[in-house]
Amino acid sequence: MSNPILEANKLCKTFGSLVAVQDVSIDIHKDEIHAVIGPNGAGKSTLISQICGSLSSDKGSVFLLGRDITNLPTEKRASLGIGRTFQISALAKEDTVLENAILGSVGASGKHWRFFNPVLKNSILRDEAESCLELVGLKDLINLKTATLSHGQLRLLEVAIALTLKPKVFIMDEPMAGLGSDGTKQLTEFLDKLRERAPILLVEHDMDAVFALANRITVLDYGRVIASDNASSIKKDPEVQKAYLGEG
């Protein structure tokens, strides 16, 4: 097997006496979607925060393309190639859709300290942002104020911004949350193709989407990995069914 793009080793995180994540290891390889599922409070979001750097880890390490990024701040990890989408949309809501997307292009270009030339008139950055918006189907809405978008469109914008970063790996925290069945279907089709650009670590509650997309699935419960295997084996695993699928 080739070297993993992203690899987390035995991550631990406790909040006071609560063990949120305990010895969780996970890796993501080229061209795959690796889904993380588990009941509420299983530690999925904590794990994502540890990988992306918004939470520090008590123990364990994170490697991106073989480089140790365990102690790097969020923005460094982002510029090294972690493209994150948020569970609750984190967008500049007062700005336009295009401005939000172009922010990603600026971030990825590394040219953060430019004080004089208008960013919207920079054709390279703008084309970059527009092509990513076109991919997710928001091309017609670029001049709308982000706050006026529907919930589903906000989710798509999150994905578009992650695209502008040209990440080495996508980390998506419940991208389907709150989408209608049409939206979920669309996004599922989109993510299916997206894995060719970069592999995806997908945290998702929508089981249909997970089983339609995931090459491998890791199941968390009470902060521990209770199973990690390819999608068809996970579906049959009795412990998984007891802990999670049976309930749903």
Binding site: P73, E75, E99, H112
Partner: protein
């Protein structure tokens, strides 16, 4: 409803034509009043970068305003009294040259902003407000006790500083200097807001997570904005001291920090011309209503109340509803 750009052009017109009109009608006092408004506008445009775009409310921008005043005061005092400023290791004399004073002021204010910012920006919200206030108060009490430079009495500068080729004591010429500086600051601020840095700073106010997820260093972004902001406000302090030919600890007072915030709220938070409109309205109200009653702040209070209740975007927001930012 009018477009924000048209309102801005109208304000620019007022800024330029009121003093010219006053000059023709031989009303130097009106020119001085407009100069005062322009200088306050520069100070508030500086603050607006931190407060309006960056979203961190500095309640201590008088620290930079006062510092600018004292840089000018100290340099000019040494020059007018023929006392060397520094004798060792190199000999430094005071100066009466405005451009030199401005450069030193900008450098000193930027340095002070870097120090205050590095400490204060570790906090947010009400703690940030309090810590910036505390720094400004420290400067205030330091200046009152620094007897070498007048202590509580401040420093008087007999003659206004020089600008090559101009007679700065002529009100309309000094006004022109200040007005050109305001226009230059506004030009650069307009570019800055639309630049990659401005876009990122604006987004950082709305979502720190977003800005970090696309690879920006949130703290560096804020600190840079705070330094630029402090430098601009500092420059206006040097002009203000030159206008009055006097600098005193009151330039560090927290009331002044509050007034800068009031200018921005009246004019429109985060709007390019917001602070200019606010400063113009404030200075003219102070003059017109202040002439009728000593308690004119009551009326200012009512106006502020009305603006905060009915129009979040200040005057700009009220007049240019279409562009108003609705959350």
């Amino acid at each position: 409803m009018i477009k924000e750009r048209h309102l801005n052009i109208f304000v620019l017109g007022l800024l330029i034509f009121v003093p010219i009109f006053a000059y023709w009608n031989d009303q130097p006092f009106t020119i001085t009043l407009m100069t005062r408004a322009v200088i306050f506008a520069i100070a508030a445009v500086g603050l607006n970068l931190a407060l309006g775009i960056g979203g961190f409310i500095s309640f201590g921008h008088a620290a930079f305003f006062g510092l600018g005043g004292y840089v000018m005061g100290i340099l000019a005092w040494h020059s007018q009294n023929y006392v060397t400023l520094v004798e060792w290791p190199i000999l430094i004399e005071g100066t009466k040259s405005m451009p030199i004073i401005w450069i030193i002021t900008i450098a000193a204010s930027a340095l002070l902003a870097a120090i205050i910012g590095m400490i204060s920006l570790k906090t947010t919200g009400v703690y940030f407000i309090m810590i910036t206030l505390a720094f400004a108060q420290m400067m205030y009490y330091f200046s009152t006790s620094w007897s070498a430079y007048g202590g509580e009495d401040g420093l008087s500068i007999y003659v206004r500083n020089n600008f090559p080729g101009l007679n700065t004591l002529d009100p309309i010429q000094f006004f022109s200097i200040c007005c050109v500086i305001l226009l230059i600051v506004l030009f650069f601020m307009g570019r800055l807001i639309k630049s990659p840095f401005g876009l990122a700073l604006n987004a950082s106010r709305q979502s720190r997570q977003r800005i970090e997820a696309v690879g920006f260093d949130f703290h560096k972004l804020q600190l840079t904005a705070f330094i630029l902001s402090g430098a601009i406000t500092g420059l206006s302090g040097a002009l203000f001291a030159d206008l009055n030919r006097f600098v005193s600890p009151s330039m560090f007072s927290w009331q002044l920090s509050g007034e800068f915030i009031v200018f921005i709220i009246i004019g429109g938070v985060g709007r390019l011309f917001g602070p200019v409109i606010g400063a113009l309205i404030f200075v003219w109200l102070e003059h017109l209503i202040g002439g009728i009653s000593d308690y004119w702040h009551i009326f200012l209070g009512f106006i502020l109340l009305a603006i905060v209740l009915f129009g979040k975007g200040g005057i700009t927001g009220l007049l240019c509803q279409k562009d108003a930012q609705h959350e």
